[in-house]
Symmetry: C3
Subunit: 153 residues, 3 copies
């Protein structure tokens, strides 16, 4: 399975309704991560979701439970650090698949701001997601993060 093969041709744009839905989905999903709400964050992934981050994780996280556990551990680690985190997502491209799911590509910037310290935008990431519709909203079934500068193709 590859996240990079589009189903729709490059000249075809998705409807504004779909595009705005996906934009809103990501705004809220990143908000949950930044607000330190690991359980709700995990709830934006399917039960069988795969979370892949080749430059950081030896093995992908497999399943919502693993994503939740990883996210809770991250929160505990960071809570003592007095840091604000912000994740921006932009340059969103959405390709509908024949089965009604979506493949998206977007850019992400990760930044942290220590208490009383300077803004540090420390990572640029390309995010390939496979989104499926569940109960009237979207969930991530597969996420592949590529950290720029990591040398991985």
């Amino acid at each position: 399975m590859t996240d990079t093969t589009p189903s729709t041709p490059a000249g075809t744009f998705v409807s504004a309704e779909l595009y705005a839905q996906v934009q809103q989905f990501y705004a809220r999903q990143m908000g949950l991560l930044d607000d330190g709400r690991p359980d709700e964050w995990a709830g934006t992934f399917t039960e069988d979701a795969v979370f892949q981050e080749a430059s950081r994780l030896d093995e992908p996280l497999r399943g919502r439970d693993a994503i939740r556990a990883s996210s809770r551990a991250r929160k505990e680690r960071l809570d003592g650090d007095k840091l604000d985190f912000r994740h921006w997502l932009g340059m969103l491209d959405v390709r509908p698949q024949d089965d009604g799911s979506l493949r998206t590509r977007s850019y992400a910037l990760a930044m942290r701001i220590p208490r009383g310290g300077a803004l540090d935008i420390f990572a640029s990431v390309v995010c390939h997601d496979h989104l499926v519709q569940v109960d009237g909203t979207w969930q991530v079934r597969h996420r592949d993060l590529h950290h720029d500068g990591s040398g991985r193709d």
Copy 2:
């Protein structure tokens, strides 16, 4: 009054028309700020608007006149400095309220570029707005800015 209590449930997205309107509103509003047009900037707030920035302002600015005066003073201060300023707003979440107004949350990045100098992205801010419809466009009735790293909750 709190800007953080949503009226719509988290799984509900606003229509593309509304979402695109608010995106365009912010693109133009930030453009007025960056282009140094304090009077037009002030015109994007309601007459009775409150502008709150806990980490910067001792007291909120109350009313469009105060916002205009503050913005004119900022422009005079900066005009001598030969700086370009840019404000980016992203990760927009829009929650319609029962009275037809909107509560929005967004992230903002503030950056400056001195003549011949390097780009300096110096602040990450979370913006909570209360928007009301006036004469077919949107105006800010209440803005609360939280500077990341300021330690304020």
Copy 3:
């Protein structure tokens, strides 16, 4: 010809369909640049496109062929450098013109990430485009880039 004179009044927003189309156009166009696909990048400009970047180029690039040649040369220069490049575009404002074409203004951030090195967001740019519809998609007929801090008005 000036790219800065809007045809629509400031209080008028374009439809969500049009706004989402232009957002998607730019996401894909910047993706082609970042992915090092100069021929497809050139294909997003009209045959007679003019590409103007006052602080970098002595003379505008005139025509798609010149844009393609310049983009191929950039790719060859960069391929040896083991750099990832990302271009973000945001704060998009769209003004429809009487002839059905569009004038857009947007902010852009240019960043590079060396293999194993730190993210460097090195330029903030204001982009004024003139877009025309060709074969069901949009193409750039005129692009004017203003680098912040360059001192050019």
